[in-house]
Amino acid sequence: MSDIDNIPAILERMAREIVSQIELTGRSNPAMIGIHSGGVWVAARLHELLDISSPAGSLDISFYRDDFTRIGMNPVVRPSQLPFNIDDRHIILVDDVLHTGRTIRAAMNELFDYGRPASILLATLVERDGRELPIQANVVGSHVRLSPRQHIKLLGPDTLKLEIKQIP
């Protein structure tokens, strides 16, 4: 049922869906932000397909993770780059895989430390089951049904490819 091998087609569908949602809600002049690292790659491609004036931003949510005290810190955290003021801006937040929802929670917490956006629209390349928080995407590229013992990962950045692995 999934077409995860044809990522360009998924991205085009997502771009059309985003445009129609923006038109529907009348939320003009949105800005796009990708979540490091896969979300940044997806955002870069969507940004090309859409007519968005500001350059795409990137968010590294490591300092906002809820499992820091359990797993410790990855020293190489790329600084988040938001090359625009997010106050009163409509934001399109982009990630590669929506799974537990914890990454999105962390990303929204971080965004609010930069300012108060007018709205956030969530777009993810893949949505899978396993949500642990009440978070839903507004635009989903592909719904993938996976068992809890399966892991899906986006490989990139030059050629985007989705890889499904069994967790031993």
């Binding site: 190489v76 600084p79 930069y114």
Partner: protein, 323 residues
């Protein structure tokens, strides 16, 4: 002093007591983490929630404004709660008294101590006696070490000169004898494979066996800073001077004070550093301290990011220390 105590069996920071005992990878990891944290000041809310709900105590047995405030700001930018306790006593704090203080603070469910003490080894002593879940950060102990200062100096050099320390000639100028900063700096510069490390000081302020640390010793300023890419000045520690180690501050300035003219011996793009506070007109002229080569205020800014990195890396879930 047993420095292995600061690393757990997974190679992660458990305490942060000295540069000795770190490896190059861990040192570079701390600098990289500090680089990440320096972006936090660009947020409109200058905070990240990493250490939310943790309690940190600044335990200062010796006066210090800059170090204490940068540790305090670092803790606050990590969302930790921080308590400042100044215990200044003229006599050496006895072991038992110190332990009593520690036990009392631990009973308040503290997660980390940042310790500054006039006795060498004080932070190690405390690290040996705290409860297993508590981390200790050395904010300067006697003449032994001031590792976070050395880290922020390395961070500053890396920012200005790039990551390849192999091509750098670094001169440390001043009171090496009383300087815990110099000792930590030399260890850190060695770990980063610095091309040449020089120590420039009057004979009376140069400890015996300084050369065994892998440095070249000079007693004349003009020769010592010749061709230097980085000059790190040390503060003349008036409060630590005992006996006639120096004829006068004026004579020190004449011989070792850095002026614009003397600076011509160094590289044209030389970087001037100083841990502060500066004795203007003693270690250097205001022309130099406030001049285009000086990164002294950037060092202060970097101190916050470096301390955020050390605190957050030492605060992960605790594993037993290696013995």
């Amino acid at each position: 002093m047993n420095n292995s105590r600061q690393i757990d069996r997974h190679g992660k920071l458990r305490h942060f007591l000295s540069i000795e005992g770190l490896n190059r990878k861990l040192l570079t990891d701390i600098l990289d983490a500090a680089e990440s944290f320096s972006g936090v000041t660009e947020q409109s809310v200058k905070k990240v929630p990493l250490l939310r709900g943790k309690t940190i105590v600044n335990l200062f047995f010796e006066a210090s404004t800059r170090t204490r405030t940068t540790f305090e700001l670092a803790a606050k930018r990590l969302s930790a709660d921080i308590l400042n306790i100044n215990i200044t006593q003229s006599s050496t704090v006895k072991g038992e008294t110190l332990l009593d203080t520690l036990r009392n603070l631990e009973a308040m469910h503290v997660d980390m101590f940042v310790v500054r003490h006039a006795d060498s080894g004080a932070a190690h002593f405390i690290a040996n006696h705290v409860a297993p879940h508590v981390s200790v950060i050395n904010a300067g102990d006697g003449r032994h070490a001031h590792p976070t200062q050395a880290l922020l100096d390395m961070f500053t050099i890396r920012r200005v000169k790039g990551p390849d320390f192999g091509r750098l000639r670094v001169a440390i100028v001043g009171d090496i004898m009383h300087s815990r900063v110099a000792r930590s700096q030399i260890h850190a510069l060695n770990l980063l494979n610095t091309g040449e490390i020089r120590v420039v000081a009057p004979k009376t302020l140069t400890p015996a066996h300084t050369e065994s640390l892998g440095v070249h010793v000079f007693h004349e300023l003009s020769k010592g800073i010749e061709g230097a890419d980085v000059i790190i000045m040390l503060r003349l520690q008036r409060e630590r001077m005992q006996g006639a180690l120096l004829p006068s501050e004026h004579e020190y300035y004449e011989l070792f004070g850095v002026t614009k003219e003397k600076l011509r011996a160094a590289q044209p793009d030389v970087t001037i550093m100083h841990p502060g506070p500066i004795n203007r007109g003693v270690e250097m002229d205001s022309d130099v301290a406030d001049g285009p080569h000086s990164v002294i205020l950037a060092q202060v800014t970097h101190g916050i990011a470096v301390r955020m990195a050390v605190m957050s890396m030492a605060m992960h879930r605790k594993e037993p220390a290696t013995e």
